[in-house]
């Protein structure tokens, strides 16, 4: 594959980057901590720009783009710490519904929901009912991947068909909840439901990995800026080996995660038989690399990095949370090991 973005992909990414720099500055992320975990001005502008409909087929009012086009945009969402559910709704749910368009019984509901997603309604996928669901409180619906006794099902569940139990998170910029389903409209069953459920879980993990890469780059940018200004013994602290080598190691780790994310997006877009493995490689590497970057950033900032008044914690806590969501490093390491047929051992 070609790892470099095409000219079109660069233009779209740059447009999203410019929009988010304007509309999702640190103050907006900070205000999401005090509010409902959303940045409405950024969300509305992203809808207007076409980001939420990027993956939606043209026949359903979207732009018919692919994973390879959308994943670089999710990196930008991560870079600014956007708390809104672009990846779950505009990427994972939109891709699942696009699959559902192929099923005559499901096509009507799928097309309606795809149109709603492109218009800014939020459909949150739930692939693990036991796990916290981020953004549940402001969801317009849930795309529920259930393993029923009768076999796998994919359902569309309305907000009034669930009970929410709000949960605390280290990342106060988003609102996770435990969600208990009481009803729902069955969209898909059988093998199609099984494959859509797996692909949805993969895209949730890949979306988180993409956001993590953006967060890692942002934290390192912030830190390199800081250590270039902060002086001790008459020189910037960034000139000390103990600081610059640590940041170089972290930058290298994050830089190695980026191509894995791109490769996983390529695999998802092209239906590679090993796509789940590639997603696990991306999520595993992104999670560990960005946690490394977070730790290095925190240490190189010294005491100010620990304060909530300073911006670093906004990105660091998002990184911590995302590294555990949709499969923590151990879970993806185990899936990777199993897919390679390796014996179980130390993680």
């Amino acid at each position: 594959m070609r790892f470099e973005l095409t000219d079109d992909q660069v233009d779209l990414r740059d447009a999203v980057q410019a929009l988010l720099e304007d509309l999702c500055p640190p103050e907006a992320v900070r205000s999401a901590w005090d509010g409902d975990g959303r940045v409405p001005s950024a969300w509305d502008a992203l809808v207007e720009m076409g980001v939420l409909g990027a993956l939606v087929p043209e026949s359903a009012g979207g732009l018919g783009m692919t994973d390879e086009d959308v994943v670089p945009l999710l990196v930008e969402c991560g870079r600014v710490g956007l708390p809104d559910p672009v990846a779950p709704s505009g990427y994972a749910a939109a891709a699942a519904l696009t699959e559902a368009l192929g099923d005559p019984a499901a096509a009507g509901s799928a097309a309606e929901w795809l149109g709603r997603i492109a218009s800014g309604d939020v459909l949150i996928p739930v692939v693990d009912a036991a796990a916290p669901v981020v953004g549940a409180a402001s969801a317009d619906g849930f795309l529920w991947c259930a393993a029923e006794d009768a076999g796998p099902q994919v359902l569309v569940v309305a907000p009034d068909q669930v009970d929410l139990e709000p949960l605390q998170s280290v990342d106060g910029g988003r609102r996770p909840a435990r969600v208990v389903r009481r009803g729902g409209e069955v969209l898909l069953t059988g093998d199609v439901a099984r494959s859509v459920s797996v692909a949805t879980a993969d895209r949730l993990a890949l979306g988180a990995a993409a956001e993590l890469v953006g967060l890692g780059e942002r934290m390192l940018d912030l830190t390199v800026g800081y250590v270039g200004e902060r002086r001790q013994f008459g020189v910037p602290v960034g000139s000390f080996q103990a600081v610059k080598h640590q940041l170089a190691d972290a930058a290298l780790a994050v830089a190695f995660a980026g191509p894995l994310v791109s490769y996983a997006a390529h695999s998802m877009a092209h239906g590679d038989p090993d796509r789940s493995r590639h997603v696990s490689m991306a999520k595993l590497r992104a999670s560990t690399a960005v946690r490394h970057a977070a730790a290095a950033s925190l240490q190189c900032h010294g005491a100010i990095g620990y304060t909530v008044e300073y911006d670093l914690h906004l990105y660091m806590k998002r990184a911590w949370a995302l590294s555990y969501e949709h499969g923590d490093p151990d879970a993806h390491r185990a899936r990777l090991r199993d897919s390679l047929g390796l014996a179980s051992g130390r993680n």
């Binding site: 079109d8 447009a15 502008a45 207007e48 720009m49 990027a54 732009l63």
Partner: protein
């Protein structure tokens, strides 16, 4: 209603600028972007065309190295087409030459109802080009517009002043310079970005405009840059140790400045 917007493509202000030591002009060899101060004119033009219920926005730009990036940005916002003047002979052109080139390029777009510009570019700051274009085209000119409303053959312009604004009526066609920050430039949509790649861009040379290469660039410039020097570094401030009378020092300092 057809509106022409003059836009400049400039080095990205986020990157440190550099002067060519030989020509003493800004280095423009890298990628150029749409001058933010022009995005307000583009937005205002799009709004005026929408309000009129028909017509189109045409961009006119003069740039080195066939640069189109900034034009594509404005086309993605919704402008219909562009005229780009790019010619090695234009290197070193002064403000009046720039105005002559832009005026000739505007002539290629037909008879616009309105020509919009920024009040000044973010890299040149002469602030004279809009009025020079108006003079060259024999059109009335209004500067520092904070809003424009068109009714028939007349534009009502709120012209920003230090104290507030003047209401000015001007017959069309006219040249109006738009103050930065008076409208919120739209973000280009994905559809707009993709469509912009195939919108018509008429790239022309000095000769295509019927101008002589000897009249433009360094040879046509009525000015010469004889020297450039570093801006003086700000002096370090005075640190006053507060022994309980520090406020007196502050009062004395402000009194010296005649602030109090």
């Amino acid at each position: 209603m057809n509106v022409v917007v003059c836009v400049k493509q400039i080095p990205d202000p986020a990157d440190p600028g550099a002067l060519d030591p030989e020509t003493k002009t800004l280095v423009r060899s890298g990628k150029l972007i749409l001058d933010e101060s022009d995005s307000y004119g583009v937005e205002m033009a799009l709004q005026l065309v929408d309000a009129a219920g028909g017509g189109e926005v045409t961009l006119v730009s003069m740039a080195p190295n066939d640069e189109q990036s900034g034009l594509r940005t404005a086309l993605a916002m919704g402008a219909a087409k562009a005229v780009l003047v790019s010619d090695e002979a234009l290197r070193g052109s002064d403000a009046l030459t720039t105005a002559k080139v832009l005026a000739a390029a505007i002539g290629r777009t037909g008879q616009p109802d309105l020509v919009l510009t920024a009040t000044e570019s973010s890299d040149g700051y002469t602030g004279t080009v809009p009025e020079q274009i108006a003079e060259l085209l024999s059109l009335p000119s209004v500067t520092f517009a904070k809003s424009i409303a068109v009714d028939g053959g007349t534009a009502s312009v709120q012209r920003q002043t230090e104290a507030g604004y003047d209401d000015v009526q001007v017959p069309l066609p006219a040249v109006v310079s738009v103050t930065a920050g008076v409208v919120e430039p739209r973000y280009p949509s994905f559809k707009g970005i993709m469509a912009a790649k195939s919108k018509p861009l008429d790239q022309v040379t000095v000769a295509d405009l019927g101008m002589d290469a000897g009249q433009v660039g360094w040879s046509g410039a009525g000015q010469e840059i004889v020297d450039v020097s570093e801006a003086e570094a700000r002096e370090a401030g005075t640190i006053v140790e507060d022994d309980g009378e520090g406020h007196q020092k502050v009062v004395e300092f402000l009194a010296e400045l005649k602030v109090i």
